[in-house]
Assembly symmetry: C2
Homo-oligomer: 200 residues x 2
DNA sequence: TTAATAAGTTAACACCGTTAGCAAATATAA
DNA sequence: TTATATTTGCTAACGGTGTTAACTTATTAA
């Protein structure tokens, strides 16, 4: 007599119902507008029912974040399989990573906290140009000095800034037990590699 | 008779009062907990007064974001002055950028939308390790293949991931008019440079 | 002194996450 | 089968949030 099974199945149905409703809201209106109340409305249950399945709103978001990391891991593994040489693997994995991010913006933004209001109006902020112009000019000077007239300065500027921002934000969210000195070694090494890529 | 001047001064006082109160709240409790009501309470004016100076809450955050970019621009410019060689400048600017980010976490998080709840619990997410292990192993294989036993794989893995994440997030928030093909060229070029740095 | 303008207030609207307390349906034990 | 216990779900509230309409009180100009 699968009574207990039926109950568990029912409970699971509600759980997936919550996640499906939540996800639908996330992809239509962005995860900023996700609300417990609207989920309750969508699944046609009262609000406290949701708290029987998830401790709080954050737990629901974390669920999607985990899903995102799993999907990304899968994507990277599949990309890796397509070639044998490790450096070639690093290349196809990079493209796969990139494609994943833009084909699953909602996941990626959730995983790394992008897509915040203050972050969306970055385009209209003139103050950014003041900063980037310093970067651009230095890159240009470096290219001139190293005699590399082949390289696209705009391309290199983006790479430079991205390396910096990437290192900082990964380090900020990761909070690993590494020392500051070690963290800075990562930075120095990466910049060193970048500067070498300017020379050729 | 500087009556109009006095009034303007008074108005300006309120405006800076709002910003000071807001900033105090940001650095003490994080910018997530910034609230119009609490600002009003702090400056001892009623709530609608704030809306005479800022269109909405977002506008206040944007103000700080702008400030952050200005401060960063200043920091980078000053760092640049300390050395003459462009590549050396790129190095000191990188360190300056890094230091700015960690000495002004509130600014940096505001500027790039980090510090979100879902992003803070990244450490406790086992699913991340599943992904990073793929990256780590490939890096290790690449180092073995290129015969580079000097390089620290952990260091290189961080650099690799950071380049990817940095490129993606800068691209996501920047939303420049560049074509997808051009954006991907930036990616390819950066990864190429990284792979070269593995060889030596 | 009176009319017009500016400054600042109260009070509400429409949301939000979260939880205490209660009712009804179900399952277990006598 | 009846009585007790437990799960399940509900209503209603608490304490927040951003934002705005409507009103009152100063201040200025005529």
């Amino acid at each position: 007599m699968g009574i207990v099974e039926r109950k568990m199945r029912h409970k699971e149905e509600i759980r997936t119902g919550i996640l499906e409703a939540a996800w639908h809201m996330v992809i239509t209106d962005g995860w900023q507008s996700l609300s417990i109340r609207k989920i309750a409305d969508a699944i046609e249950y009262s609000i406290p029912v949701i708290y029987n399945h998830f401790e709080n709103k954050e737990a629901i978001l974390l669920e999607f974040s985990k899903e995102g990391y799993q999907k990304l891991a899968l994507t990277l593994n599949e990309a890796k399989k397509t070639v044998v040489s490790p450096t070639a693997q690093l290349e196809v994995m990079a493209v796969a990573y990139w494609d994943f991010a833009f084909e699953n913006k909602e996941y990626y933004q959730l995983m790394f906290g992008l897509g915040i209001p203050a972050c969306e109006m970055v385009n209209q902020v003139a103050e950014i140009k003041e900063m980037t112009s310093t970067l651009v000019s230095t890159i240009q000077e470096a290219l001139v000095q190293t005699g590399n007239r082949e390289a696209d300065y705009f391309l290199k500027y983006h790479a430079y800034w991205s390396i910096l921002h990437g290192l900082v934000s990964i380090q900020m969210i990761e909070n690993s037990g590494k020392t500051d000195a070690f963290k800075k070694m990562i930075l120095k090494d990466a910049i060193n590699g970048f500067c070498k890529s300017l020379v050729l």
